[in-house]
Each structure stands twice: as C-alpha cells, then as structure tokens.
C-alpha cells in the first residue's frame, strides 16, 4: 500500500474578481476592474491564462460588482478548465471576498487578484515554494512599494506586512499572488466577526502573529497593475510589445483575427492587435500600439496611435487620436482630434502632472463631428458631446455638452 503524499502543490485557484476598482472610474461604470481591457481582452482573461499555464485545473471566481459581465464572458469553463462562481454581495475587502469561496478548494490553493496582469512564472514560483506553509506570497521589488502592500523578508520568511507605508524604506511589495492552506479560512472567519471590512492582509498578519509559516518568493517576472485610467495604455503597450496577444499573428507584431476585415488601402503599423469582427476602412492608419477590441469599426482615413479602443465602438472617418482610451460601444463622429499628452490630469481632486494621456472616453459616449479633446480630458459614460466641442477636463456621466 502506498503512503498518502504529505503535501501536494495546489492545483486549484481562487481568483478575486468582485471589486469595482473605484480609482478607474469612470471606466468601471458598467463592469468590474478585472473586465477592463489589457490589450484587446479583459485583464481577467490574462490572469486566468497565467494560472492555467501554471498547471491549475480548477478555478473559483469570486464575483460581485457587475458579476454578470464576468459570468457571461467566461461561462462555465475557460480553456477546458471548470470555473465555479462564488458571489460576494457586498464588497467588504479581499479577505471577505476570499471567505466567499471557502467551500471551494480542498487542501492548499492559489489565490490571485483578478485585476493585475502577471507572468505565469510568478504563479509557478509560488506553487513550487508553497509546500506545507500556512501562506506563501509572491514578492516583487520596485519603486512602487509604498502604493501597495509592502513586506519585509528575512530569508524566505515574511516578517512584516505594511499596507501603503508612508515612509520610503520599503522596496519589496506583495504581488497579489498567494498560496494558502485551509488555515486562512478559520483565521478570516474569526476576524470577520467584529469587522465591517476585512482586507486579506489582516488575515496574513494574524497568521504571522500566530507564528505560522508565511513564506515569500522573490520574483522579477512581469507584473503590472492599472491604478488609473491612463495605465490601460501602458498595460496595452506592454502586452503588445511582449506579444501576449491571443490572436493570429499575420505579420511581425501585427495580430489580426480571421473574422476582422481590413480594407486593402488601410495601413497597420505594428505592434497592433485587431480582435474579432473588427472593420478597418480605406485609408485608415492603425498603430503602432493600437489595441482594437471586438466588433470595433474604424472609419476611413482615421489615424490611431497608442490607443485602446474597447469592444463595439465606432471611430468615425478622419479621426486623429493619440494616447486615447475609449470604452465600449461609443460612437465617435468624423474628424475628432485627440492630440495626445502630456497633461496635468485631475482625478478625484488629486492632480497628476505630466501624464501622457490624450483622453479617456468611458462607455457609450457619443461624440459629435469635428470635436477636439484637449490632453487629459475625461468623458464619463453615456455622455453626449456636441459637434465641434473642445473638451477640457472632466465631463460627468450622462451629461450633454453642446459647446
């Protein structure tokens, strides 16, 4: 008779996809942050690719804010791996989100944030290291530590977790890729009793306080988060440069789905990606760094460079757009000009200087002919911009601007 194996590496993953991502408003009006585009596909698709490439064969998705968007996009399986959905009705933090899936995996499991693009090697490193630790965290080094959860490491052991530290002494931070054994559920349940909001890091701190083994795996593999709307441009640039585009490559750095149609007199300049059913009309020049989502129409003689155009949007004839993020199902009439950054962008009363941003247009916006976006303009969802309007600063959701 064979002995049961002492511990096996986790083969199931919980992926958190319930959060809105309030800092990415107005793009998250209709969907959670994990469903915003990284290239032409949702960020979450990239996350699921990474965990599947790392060998996971069972995925639990925690959904909440605008859950139907996740459910309808992925269905019951993704790339042959079964997906089980767990609903977090109120978004009370990542620890609370994890608790919603406590009936999911048996034994050890991976936990991955659904709103960050990661290399599958990070997941593999965590899987390989986990063994019988209570928790294992992927740790990355960078300037940005103060903006995330900073950690300190002693050898391979995590000794401290600090959320968004104010001092500059931390250079290591938590990449949002973890492995846990079942202990974490009990710990979180205990903490949940007297809390409104429950961040996951509180649970991990509790494990540390209980002298459980919390390991850290340092990695310098690719990891990228979008914090502000313009970060989607950088994310898309990275994925296009790396060729992490799940579409047929028709030429060097040019990715075009079979169902897309490109007029013979249009020009594609790589890196560029055109997803399913995209139409590019005569004389258009698309790229470099253009990520064009499903069912988008790009009108004649439009020039698009450094853009993310999300599904269903129509870009009118002779549009010129540089460093532009456009949401889903917008209609941009002819001769729109978006000249590109840099700009000082005001978001939630904070000023961000020198941002390379032509503009952000949220979902289902109508922009009339011959309009102009001044660098850094932000247009909220369902807004209507009249013909010839010069847009500066922020336009609120559902508003109508005629001049």
């Amino acid at each position: 008779m064979s002995e049961p194996t002492a511990s096996s590496s986790p083969s199931s993953a919980i992926v958190l996809a319930a959060g809105e991502g309030t800092r990415l408003r107005p793009l998250t009006a209709n969907r959670p942050k994990p469903m915003l585009p990284a290239g032409t596909r949702p960020i979450l698709e990239n996350v699921l690719n990474a965990v599947i490439e790392a060998g996971v064969d069972e995925i639990h998705l925690v959904v909440g804010y605008r859950a139907s968007r996740v459910r309808s996009h992925f269905g019951s399986t993704y790339r042959g791996v079964p997906l089980e959905y767990h609903t977090q009705d109120n978004q009370l933090g990542s620890g609370h989100a994890l608790l919603q899936a406590r009936d999911g995996p048996d034994g050890s499991f991976l936990l991955v944030n659904g709103d960050q693009v990661i290399d599958h090697c990070i997941v593999e490193a965590v899987t390989a290291t986990h063994d019988d630790n209570a928790a294992t965290l992927a740790v990355v080094e960078g300037e940005d530590a103060p903006a995330y959860g900073a950690v300190t490491l002693d050898g391979s052991q995590i000794t401290e977790l600090v959320e968004q530290p104010q001092t500059g002494e931390y250079r290591l931070f938590n990449a949002g890729v973890y492995a846990f054994d079942q202990t974490i559920f009990g710990t979180l349940e205990q903490l949940a009793v007297d809390r409104g909001s429950l961040p996951l890091t509180d649970g991990i701190k509790h494990l540390l306080a209980d002298n459980k083994t919390v390991a850290g795996v340092r990695t310098d593999e690719f990891w990228m988060d979008a914090t502000h709307p313009w970060d989607l441009l950088a994310l898309s640039r990275e994925l296009l440069s790396r060729g992490w585009i799940n579409l047929p490559q028709t030429d060097t750095n040019i990715y075009v789905d079979d169902s897309a149609s490109v007029h013979p007199d249009a020009t594609l300049i790589g890196p560029v990606a055109l997803d399913q059913d995209v139409v590019v009309e005569a004389g258009a020049v698309v790229g470099p760094y253009a990520a064009v989502g499903e069912n988008v129409t790009i009108g004649p003689n439009a020039v698009l460079r450094d853009v993310v155009v999300d599904t269903g949007t129509t870009v009118g004839p002779a549009t010129t757009a540089i460093e532009l993020v456009v949401g889903q199902d917008c209609t941009l009439q002819a001769d729109l000009t978006v000249a590109g950054g840099p700009a000082d962008v005001v978001l939630n009363e904070t000023v961000y200087s020198d941002v390379n941003l032509g503009g952000v247009i949220a979902d289902r916006v109508d922009v009339g002919g011959n309009a102009t976006l001044e660098a850094g303009a932000l247009i909220g969802p369902d807004a209507t911009v009249g013909p010839g309007v010069v847009v500066r600063g922020t336009i609120e959701a559902e508003s109508e601007v005629v001049r």
């Binding site: 139907s68 309808s72 269905g75 399986t77 959905y85 149609s261 007029h263 069912n295 199902d329």
Partner: protein, 598 residues
C-alpha cells in the same frame, strides 16, 4: 417529448455517464426518469424529476457495464412510476427506452394481448419489449428479434434496447432524433449531443431508417435491410462548457445575458461592412422566390411573423403559418414559392410535417434552425443556421433574437437590390452593444415588482412589433403562469379591450416615429381611458415615454432591429415576474424544450 441515452464500453462509469446524460437532457422532459443496466438487466425508474431517481438509486443501486436511460414528458398515460421508461417484457429479459409515438401501438397491443401477453403500463412503448420477447421465443437471435420488431413499428421513434445475455445496445431511429457519440473509450447514444459532449465531440448523426448495434468494442450502423451503411463522423464545435449555468440562478437568465455574444455570432462573417453586402454562403444559390410561406410553432412562429413582415416590406408576398395547421390544411402553393421552416431544435414534429408536406408538393424548402445536422436541416433543400449556441432554458430567449437576425439576413439574401445595406449592417454591428446597454440599464426587475399582483398582462404593437407583443405574452405565460395576451394594437377595440381594467397593465411596444408608432399612441390612450397602467417599451423617438405610466427604454436603432431590443426588455420582465413568484423557470410545468411529437 422525451430524451434517451445509452452508454457501452465505459465499464464502472456507466451509471454516472447515464445520469450525467439524463441531467443534460432534462430540458426535454421531467415527468419521470429511469435506467436499465446490463448484463443483469435491472431496471429502476421513478416519476418526478431526475432527483427522485437519484434518491432511489441511493437505496437500490444499479450496477453494470452498459445501459440505457430515459427522461420522459408524458404523451400517453399520466406521469407515474409504472409509465416511466425503461419498459420490459413480462419476464424482464428485454428493456426498452423510446422517444416518439408508435402510431400503430393499439393494433400491436391487441394482437399481443390475444397471444396472452399482459401489459403493465399505459404507454405505447411497452409493445416494443413484448414484441422483441415474442420474437426471441420464436427462436430469433437477439439482433434479428430487434430488427423484426422495429420493422413492425409505425410512427416516429428513437428506440434503444438491451436484451439479457447480450452485451449489446440495439437502437433505431425513425422520425425522432438519435445521435451516436464515438470514442475509443465507449460508444454513447442520445437524443441530443449535450448528453455526452463531455465524453466525446465526435458524433454520427443517424438518418431515418438507421439502426445501431453497439458493443463494448464499437458500433455498426445498418439500414432497414440490415445492410451496413457508411456514416460520417462529425466533430461538433460546442463543448460541455457552453451548457453550464455559469453561476446564474437559471439558464434562462444566463441565456438572456449571452445575447450580445450570440447575436454577434449570428451575423459574424455574413455581413461585410466594407462592401455593404450581406452574403449567406449556405443559401446563396436560391433564386428570388415568387412568394414565401413560413411554417413554425410557438416562439419560432413569432419569428416567422416577423420574417414575413420584412419580406412583404421588400415586395415579396409572404405569410406565416402555424405548422400544426399547415400540414392539415395546406394553403395553395405555386412553383417558385419558398417554404421556410423555423425551428430552434430542427426536430419540432409539427414543423417537420409541414415542411414534408411542402416538399411533397415540389417546392423548395429551407430550414432556419439553431441545430446543425438536425432533421429539418438535413431534410430541407437548404439550411440556414442562426448560430445562437446551445439553449437549455425551456423558454426560448437568445434563439428568438437570433431567429430575428436570421430572418433579416435571409431577406437580404433573397431580395436583389440596389438599396444601400450599410445602415442595416451598421445597426446589426451595433446590436450587441445595444443589447448590453439594455442589460446594464434595464428597470424591468423594479417594474416586475410593481406590477406583480396584476390580474393579467397585455402586450400590444404594430408592424414588426406585433411579433414582439405576441412573444412577450408567450414568455410571460410560459414561465410565470400568469395570464398574458398579445395583440396587434389595432385589434384592441375589436374585442380584447373588454378585458382591460386598472388591474391589467398593458405593455405598448412603440419604436420609431412613423404612422405605426403614432397609431399605437392612440391605442395607449384607449387603454389608459379604461384605467389600465401602460408600460411603454420605446426608443424615445415618439412621445410614448411621456404619456406612459412607466417606461422600458431601448437605444435608438434601425426599425428592423428595434424589435430585438424591445423583446430583451420583455424577456427580463417575464423572468423577474416568474422569479418573484418562485416558478421553476427553466422547467415550466407541462412544457418541453422542443416538441418532437405531433
């Protein structure tokens, strides 16, 4: 209708495969379910949903290495344990499952009873095991006994049988669907592919008259004369993943939310936005017909009404007929008429009968269907697939939307025109986003709450929106069990207005701002004068939203595409009414997904 399954060559996993298959066919019937397993030939069956059978298996487990199973929707005899399949002969040597109707069963039964056979159920099916047993008694080999029995049957059937002492499943198809799943690890039989798609995607679509002899080492297909026939193995494109609920409470809601994707699949590759053309490769050799007759049932009939309205608008005489009426009272046909059957499953018996009638009179037929290789698709001269993907909820939602798109594409294919198709193509390309907007912003759940305790729900529209009114009412009836009726708005004052009271909300579908819209505004005032609350389903182009008591808003689009959006709002309304009433939304009482009996 019913669903049958069979599995051989799968060893100890057989029972799980059969139960999984029945689970995925449950949409085809849920009055009773049963399983027979060989080599022991034990049978277990229970009335009620599949859960009742699974509970019974806990206490009296079945074992075996091959077997057949059945999920039933009653046509002959009430749903009881006794009438559940499999049926056996008196000695329990033969077990049979059957989908369809054996039309000559009373003659066969009389003859068997004259020979001293005692029947234990009210079903037509039971003649089959007795006939096989009689043939065995007369010295036939099991295979010959099966063939000789099937030769005697008239009507429509898909049958599977197991016989004591033989490690074999015998099956036959005549007029009812039966498909074979092929793999190195077992052979599977079922009424529909989802029953075994998690085990294999390689499928043999049997034709009428085909019989299958399956053993642990493989299968052979023979014809009525027992001669082997060459069959094609086709790989189906959809996988088990498309048939799960994805965390939605009901398949119906999942399928409503899938519409942005399923609609895009319906037109993808068929519209050329660069050239402004619409091309349907499957049917591009049909000449322009002199006239078109649509035949369909239920929801598909509402799509047929819409298709006929579009054709008339484009100058081709067209009518929609209820298939069950058409076959019995066939309207006159002239050569050059095209008969179009609309059927989601491609197996709807009434629609098949109407199409066969048309074919026998020598005209061209076309099947507009969601099911590749279905009977309708194979029997008609042409098949146009709506590509909506598998639909499990009994109440049709995404397939109706895609049928409307299929009609639009077909009309453009049939009508040669110099007219610019770009506006229509643009609207079709905008449709997935427009549907998503309705899904994101709909207030249907709130309105469902508000009007929950109404006495009845009425739906009115004109032109293409008549289809939406009828379909909105049908959906409401099917899943909420509430009284609902749809009318062409102009008909109100000729009778139905007598039913209108302050307790009967009226849904008025008003799109565009043409004469039809303006006249419907008049109808709104008629019912408001009787105190009925009016919910306008409107794109805001007319003043309907201003005069109505409540509004279900849709984005502005091409007048031919607007009905799709209006219908999505009504799908949501019916869903939320039924959900608040706690109805079994995916499996409404007395209904089956596709009705394969006349």
């Amino acid at each position: 209708m019913c669903g049958i399954v069979g599995c051989i060559g799968r060893g100890d996993e057989t029972l799980d495969v059969l139960l999984g298959g029945l689970r995925s066919l449950e949409y085809r019937g849920y009055d009773s379910a049963g399983i027979a397993m060989g080599p022991a030939g034990d049978v277990l069956k229970r009335s009620g949903e599949l859960d009742a059978l699974e509970d019974a298996l806990e206490t009296s487990p079945l074992t075996g290495t091959f077997g057949i199973g059945h999920t039933r929707w009653s046509t002959h005899g009430p749903p009881t344990d006794r009438n559940a399949h499999p049926h056996t002969d008196e000695a329990g040597r033969v077990a049979v499952v059957h989908n369809g109707i054996i039309e000559n069963y009373s003659e066969l039964k009389t003859a068997l009873e004259a020979d001293g056979v005692t029947f234990s159920s009210d079903t037509d099916t039971e003649v089959v095991p007795h006939l096989i047993a009689q043939a065995l008694d007369q010295g036939d080999s099991p295979e010959t006994a099966f063939h000789n029995t099937v030769d005697k049957l008239e009507g429509s059937y898909a049958i599977a049988a197991i016989i004591d002492g033989e490690e074999t499943i015998y099956a036959a198809r005549q007029g009812s669907p039966l498909v074979v799943g092929v793999s190195d690890e077992g052979t599977f039989l079922a009424s529909d592919v989802p029953a075994f798609v998690e085990h294999t995607r390689d499928v043999v679509f049997l034709e009428d008259g085909h019989r299958v002899i399956a053993t642990p080492s493989g299968y052979t297909v023979v014809d009525k004369d027992r001669q082997p026939v060459e069959v094609d193995i086709e790989t189906v494109s959809y996988t088990a993943d498309e048939t799960g609920k994805s965390g939605y409470d009901h398949y119906m809601l999942k399928e409503i939310y899938e519409q942005p994707t399923s609609l895009r699949q319906s037109f993808s590759g068929r519209v050329d936005a660069l050239e402004g053309t619409i091309t349907l490769e499957e049917v591009d050799d049909i000449p322009r017909p002199n006239a078109v007759q649509f035949v369909a049932c239920g929801t598909s009939y509402h799509a047929a009404l819409y298709g006929a309205a579009l054709l008339r608008e484009r100058g081709i005489p067209a009518e929609a007929y209820l298939a069950s009426e058409y076959a019995l009272s066939p309207p006159p046909l002239t050569l050059g008429t095209l008969v179009v059957g609309i059927t989601q499953s491609g197996e709807t018996a009434d629609t098949l009968a109407a199409l066969r009638d048309a074919q026998s009179r020598g005209v061209t037929t076309l099947a507009l269907t969601n099911t590749v290789n279905s009977t309708a698709a194979r029997e008609c001269d042409h098949a146009l697939y709506i590509r909506a993907g598998p639909e499990i909820g009994v109440a049709a939602t995404k397939t109706f939307s895609s049928q409307l798109i299929g009609c639009n594409l077909l009309v453009e294919e049939l009508v040669e025109t110099a007219q610019d198709r770009r506006p229509l193509i643009e609207s079709l390309r905008d449709l997935p986003g427009d549907v998503q907007e309705v899904l994101d912003t709909s207030n249907a759940a709130t309105l469902a709450e508000e009007y929950l305790d109404s006495e009845a729900y009425f739906f009115i529209g004109r032109g293409a929106n008549v289809s939406v009114a009828l379909e909105g009412a049908l959906k409401c009836k099917e899943i909420s069990y509430e009284h609902a009726e749809g009318f062409p708005a102009g008909e109100l004052k000729h009778g139905p207005l007598a039913l209108v009271t302050p307790e009967t909300p009226v849904f008025a579908i008003v799109t565009g701002d043409d004469e039809r819209a303006r006249k419907t505004l008049g109808s709104i005032k008629e019912v408001q004068a009787r105190g009925a609350p009016v919910i306008a389903v409107t794109d805001g182009q007319s003043t309907a939203a201003e005069i109505a008591d409540a509004v279900l808003e849709i984005p502005e689009t091409h007048h031919r595409v607007a009905p799709v959006l209006a219908n999505v709002q009504l799908q949501l309304f019916s869903y939320y009414v039924a959900n608040k009433l706690g109805r079994p939304i995916d499996k409404p009482r007395n209904l089956a997904k596709s009705v394969t009996v006349e």
